[in-house]
Amino acid sequence: MTEIMNDHWEEWKKLLDFRHARVLKSKNVLDELDIAFVEGAIASEEQEQQLREIRKKTKKLVAVGACAVVGMPAAQRNYFNEEQKREIEFLVARFAALPKVLKVADVVTVDAQVPGCPMDPDNFLKVLGEVLGEFQTQKA
């Protein structure tokens, strides 16, 4: 997303209010969101809870990228053979990871998704436009 910003920052700076984006800012607020973009697969109960909290606070939730949309490559451990599973067992236990890695839609309802690794910037802009359009229609 920070790369799509190269061409769109001027427009986004006016149009969007980034409420919670740790990669961009330190003072983040997770209150009422219009749109939440979620990247990454879900590997622990804590992450599951955080995702549920985001869902509660956002009107729309968009899963972005293969990790969020299909859970891969983090979910490759779901398909390990018995020996590989034994090798990683103690680490899964040490950090209280879930027995299987989940995709975002396994945990919450997803309103839209931008699949792919990397995600396709044009597709991202299309989805962003559509979701923003819905808010503008509601306002009008």
């Binding site: 980034f18 990669v23 800012k25 490759q76 040490r94 990871a97």
Partner: protein, 432 residues
């Protein structure tokens, strides 16, 4: 304030998730735990049973930011295992791929992560467009990133998980029109890079501590990121294939990532190490434009890592302009070889420091085992030792909030990447 615990649940303006715990007892730092909290994705297990040619595109997924560094390092390890010597042209295309990555990745770190601290802003996007200096910086930052992106796209097909570089060569070569456009864009942003270097040269932030600086340094006369031997900063230059004897893996139970030492001590990798060890090999035009700025190196000031990154952007632009304006490229079929029982080691300088990929191919031509050592894992202990030193400098007068802010600034100067650091499981590698 003799006894206190200081915790930071989530660092911001860094790649991926990390937290920090500092314990102070009787006015002294008892421990510093820099915890990488990304969950492991077990790439070293996932490598097993795959043919070598399938690895680079899998392993580039370790990181979305420096994916092309993992891609090239994996290609190198596979080429070594298969006995492939890349053509002269492939080597140049790899160098250009790295330059595109360095320009984009360093600019991302400097403008979006580091610059807000210097301007007392929470975010780069909060820079004031009515202020001429800040407005210029906003434009500069996104223009440099875009130019790096354009170069990566032209040479490698994409700036993230690039499709053209493959085991044995490149599937596409850049076309004339694109080369012309890249030259134009890079020339256009060059003055912006000089402005950036000036800002970080004049930045008032400073933290000094003696440590060891390590980097892959070219044996030729040009500063690069792909070839050379591993300079330990102590007068030794280790050939790539012996790297493992010189890195001691340390398991920190509170972190998802492995840490490393060299001869029992912490060391630092990244732009500052490269600049400290090889500034003489920078492009002549870079040296000429920067003049006395280069006299800051060698430096033990961790914040000079930012200045070194800005200088590397300039060098990447200058060497790319040289190559693109003097060379033509012809389509070459990638070199193919049948896999056999072998070990392949790839070592490159990723934006954040030395990156190692090792694969062991079995008799069946499939990968038996692999190992990946990333820069942030190597910097982990050095970061912790720096934080300890910083907190002891700030005690007892400084308020806790200010200490936390200063620590975060220091960690940010390293440009750590948590996604890279937490990807694999400790491997007990039998010495070959």
């Amino acid at each position: 304030m003799h006894n206190f615990d200081l915790t930071l649940d989530r660092l911001t303006k860094v790649e991926g998730s990390a937290s920090l715990e500092v314990r102070v007892r009787d006015g002294r730092v008892e421990h510093v735990h820099f915890k990488i909290t990304e969950y492991k994705r077990f790439f070293t297990q996932a490598m097993q049973g795959k043919p070598p040619v399938a690895l680079p595109q899998l392993l580039s997924r370790i990181c979305g930011t420096c994916s092309n560094a993992h891609l090239l390092c994996s290609i190198e390890s596979c080429e070594r295992a298969l006995g492939i010597s890349p053509s002269e042209q492939s080597k140049i295309l790899k160098a250009l791929t790295m330059y595109g990555l360095m320009i984009r990745d360093h600019a991302l770190h400097l403008y979006l992560f580091a610059l807000p601290d210097l301007f007392d802003k929470d975010s780069f996007l909060e820079f004031d467009e009515t202020d001429p200096v800040q407005r210029q910086l906003l434009h500069d930052g996104f223009a440099i990133k875009a130019a790096g992106n354009f170069l990566a796209k032209l040479i490698a097909g994409r700036s993230v998980h690039a499709p053209y570089p493959t085991v044995g060569g490149f599937t596409h070569v850049p076309e004339k029109e694109g080369i012309r456009e890249a030259i134009q864009k890079l020339n256009d942003v060059r003055p912006a890079v000089l402005r950036l270097a000036k800002i970080f040269e004049e930045a008032p932030f400073r933290f000094d501590r003696k440590t060891n600086f390590m980097a892959l340094v070219s044996e030729g006369d040009r500063y690069g990121f792909l070839e050379g031997c591993i300079n330990t900063g102590q007068g030794e230059c280790i050939p790539e294939q012996y790297y493992r004897e010189h890195l001691e893996q340390v398991v920190l139970p509170y972190s998802q990532a492995s840490a490393y030492r060299h001869e029992g001590g912490a060391y630092m990798v990244g732009a500052l190490s490269r600049m400290n060890l090889a500034k003489d090999k920078l492009h002549p035009r870079t040296k000429d434009s920067l003049g006395a700025t280069l006299d800051h190196f060698p430096s033990t000031n961790v914040f000079h890592n930012n200045l070194a990154q800005a200088i590397e952007i300039l060098h990447s632009i200058d060497d790319t302009l040289d190559i693109l304006s003097s060379r033509t490229f012809v389509q070459e079929p990638p070199i193919k070889k049948e896999p056999h029982e072998a070990v392949g080691i790839g070592v490159i300088e990723a934006p954040r420091g030395t990156l190692y990929h090792k694969i062991e191919v079995g008799r069946d031509g499939l990968v038996k085992r692999g190992e990946i050592v990333v820069p942030t894992g190597q910097n982990q202990i050095n970061i912790e030792e720096d934080i300890r030193g910083l907190v002891e400098e700030l005690l007892p007068e400084t308020p806790k909030e200010k200490i936390i802010f200063e620590i975060e600034k220091l960690i940010r100067a390293y440009d750590p990447c948590m996604s890279c650091a937490a990807h694999f499981l400790k491997v007990d590698w039998l010495q070959q």
